[in-house]
């Protein structure tokens, strides 16, 4: 497929995704919707931390910054995987357009990439709003000192980490798409399972060292752990943090995930075509 055709497909998919995701509400309601859930999620973990710390008598602002950044940037994992898991079900059973997309010369794969990029855009909006409101509530509203120097963020490291991390989440999303093309029963639970496991073992809101040893092994194998470490480093500049090794781990685990995701998706599409699943409409 020519590069121009790929870019056109991706562009159209981003546009379709934007329309599907946003035109159910006016822009203000849409913005509130994309703000409220992540902010509420951040407030939940923030209050757990503050209440737990108040009871134990130990308040560590460094740990608060750890969970603040981890929970906020985890938005990318949740939104990209949620979107990609529901995509096949919605386009096949609800809007009944998957068969038409499959028939067009543009590749379904690039269409999915475009839709996922739309999810990344929406997640970025959520992220910025959540960061702003989180700082306003916790730092200025409740007086919790968040030890982040907002003027010294390392945007180079942050961009690199985000780029590789997003590719990784999209690769996991392809696995979810592949599973959903073969079954109509698990589209709601899959992203919950995957994001739940990543949330628990990925060092999102607590240090992975708190986990039992077997949990720490899982944590060390997950790309999201390295993604969040790199993102945190770009904000907190912790002394002794080996950025290059973590970036290498993130890149290697992302490449492996990407290969696995694309291979799984291709096999799933082959089976779907063979078994007549591409236009199979089921109501679950």
């Amino acid at each position: 497929m020519a590069v121009g055709a790929i870019l056109r497909t991706v562009k159209q998919a981003v546009w379709v995704g934007w329309k599907v995701e946003t035109n159910w509400a006016d822009p203000l309601v849409f913005a509130i919707y994309y703000l409220i859930r992540p902010v509420a999620g951040l407030l939940i973990v923030g209050f757990i931390f503050l209440i737990g710390s108040a009871v134990s008598g130990i308040v560590d602002p460094g740990l608060f910054a750890f969970l603040f950044i981890g929970n906020t940037f985890f938005i990318y994992a949740v939104q990209v995987m949620m979107l990609m898991s529901m995509l096949i079900h919605e386009d096949r059973a609800h809007y009944e357009v998957l068969k038409h997309i499959y028939l067009t010369p543009g590749s379904l794969q690039w269409y999915i990439v475009g839709r996922a990029l739309n999810g990344v855009m929406n997640a970025s909006v959520s992220l910025l709003l959540t960061l702003g409101l989180g700082v306003a509530v916790f730092q200025y509203g409740m007086g919790i000192p968040i030890p982040i120097d907002w003027l010294s963020i390392d945007f180079g490291v942050l961009s690199l980490g985000l780029l590789v991390g997003v590719v990784c989440f999209m690769a996991i999303g392809f696995i979810l798409c592949g599973i959903n093309i073969m079954t109509s029963k698990v589209q709601f639970m899959l992203p919950e399972y995957v994001s739940g496991i990543l949330y628990l073992f990925g060092g999102v809101v607590f240090l992975p060292e708190i986990l039992p040893l077997w949990g720490q092994y899982i944590s060390n194998a997950l790309p999201v752990t390295y993604f969040l470490r790199i993102v945190r480093f770009s904000f907190l500049h912790q002394a002794g943090f080996d950025m290059h090794t973590n970036l290498l781990y993130l890149t290697v685990t992302t490449i492996l995930t990407a290969f696995a995701g694309l291979a799984f998706f291709r096999v799933a599409m082959f089976k779907a075509r063979r078994d007549g699943l591409i236009d199979k409409k089921e109501e679950y």
């Binding site: 159910w24 509400a25 919707y33 409220i36 859930r37 992540p38 509420a40 999620g41 407030l43 939940i44 973990v45 209050f47 757990i48 931390f49 503050l50 209440i51 737990g52 710390s53 108040a54 009871v55 134990s56 130990i58 560590d60 740990l63 969970l67 609800h94 809007y95 509203g141 409740m142 029963k185 698990v186 639970m189 919950e192 399972y193 739940g196 496991i197 949330y199 628990l200 999102v204 809101v205 607590f206 240090l207 708190i210 986990l211 109501e283």
Partner: protein
């Protein structure tokens, strides 16, 4: 309502209950997901409490919150949003032309949903208690059960009220149901006590508008902190008021929204 109508409606309740129980338990993977996913989520919050060295009863607070959240999710997705799904699949019009009360259908859904969710919630509770070795100090189980059932009554009455709103919704239904998850978990103190001094008064005030807040607080105090009915009677009064207010409101809202839907021609409109 005469005797014959009552029997008709009771049959409708039973029929909807049967479908809900049968449908909810026919897929083992759904059953597993509805137990495993909440346990994963609440585990993360328990570890967060462990990181800040909070006492073990806070893990108990999280587990009770996660257990009750199963009921809230059921109310949200299988009560409130149900009429939206029914509209999308073409069943809503069948309900509306049937010679039965809409409340009978909703009651059947609520009872069936309660049975299904109770199974899953019990599994989540037991798993959480066993995995994290949470100390239980339950001296008045009847008080705990009373608070639990009042909370369930208030939640399902709220779900019935929302169902009328969702009946007219298109894609907003999905987004609205999503929107009522984390914010309600935050406000109701699903994973922490809202009575803590750390929680600002404005948030405590907003929390008191949600029946789940009183239910969670009451159950935690009775089951984890070992308190009795003398300590939680205010929670019980608040929950009774919620039930008495929400049920008639749900009935009114259902009639109002159905009429509005008929006037605007939106009851059978799909893919909005």
């Amino acid at each position: 309502m005469n005797r014959e109508e009552l029997i008709h409606n009771l049959k409708a309740v039973y029929a909807r209950l049967w479908v809900r129980i049968k449908g909810g338990n026919r897929e083992p993977e759904w059953l597993a997901a509805e137990v495993v996913i909440p346990v994963i989520t609440l585990s993360a919050y328990v570890f967060l409490y462990k990181m800040v060295k909070a006492p073990p009863e806070y893990a108990g607070f999280v587990i009770i919150g996660g257990t009750m959240m199963a009921f809230w999710s059921n109310v949200l997705w299988n009560m409130s949003a149900q009429f939206y799904w029914e509209k999308e699949t073409g069943n809503l019009e069948v309900y509306l032309v049937a010679p039965i009360s809409r409340m009978a259908i909703l009651l059947g859904m609520a009872l069936g949903g309660f049975v299904n969710t109770a199974l899953r919630a019990t599994a989540v509770f037991v798993a959480g208690i066993l995995i994290f070795q949470v100390p239980i100090a339950l001296y008045e189980p009847l008080t705990a059960l009373l608070i639990f059932f009042l909370t369930i009554g208030a939640l399902y009455a709220l779900g019935m009220m929302f169902a009328s709103l969702f009946m007219l919704y298109g894609r907003e239904a999905w987004h609205t149901a999503n929107l009522l998850q984390e914010p309600i978990q935050f406000l109701s103190g699903t994973y922490y006590p809202t009575t803590s001094q750390v929680v600002p008064q404005t948030i405590q005030l907003l929390s008191s508008l949600i029946p789940l807040t009183f239910g969670l607080d009451g159950i935690r105090r009775v089951a984890i902190l070992g308190q009795g009915i003398g300590d939680v009677w205010l929670n019980i009064v608040a929950l009774v008021i919620f039930v008495l207010v929400l049920l008639p409101l749900a009935r009114f809202a259902l009639g109002f929204m159905e009429n509005l839907g008929k006037k605007e021609g939106r009851l059978t409109l799909r893919w909005q």
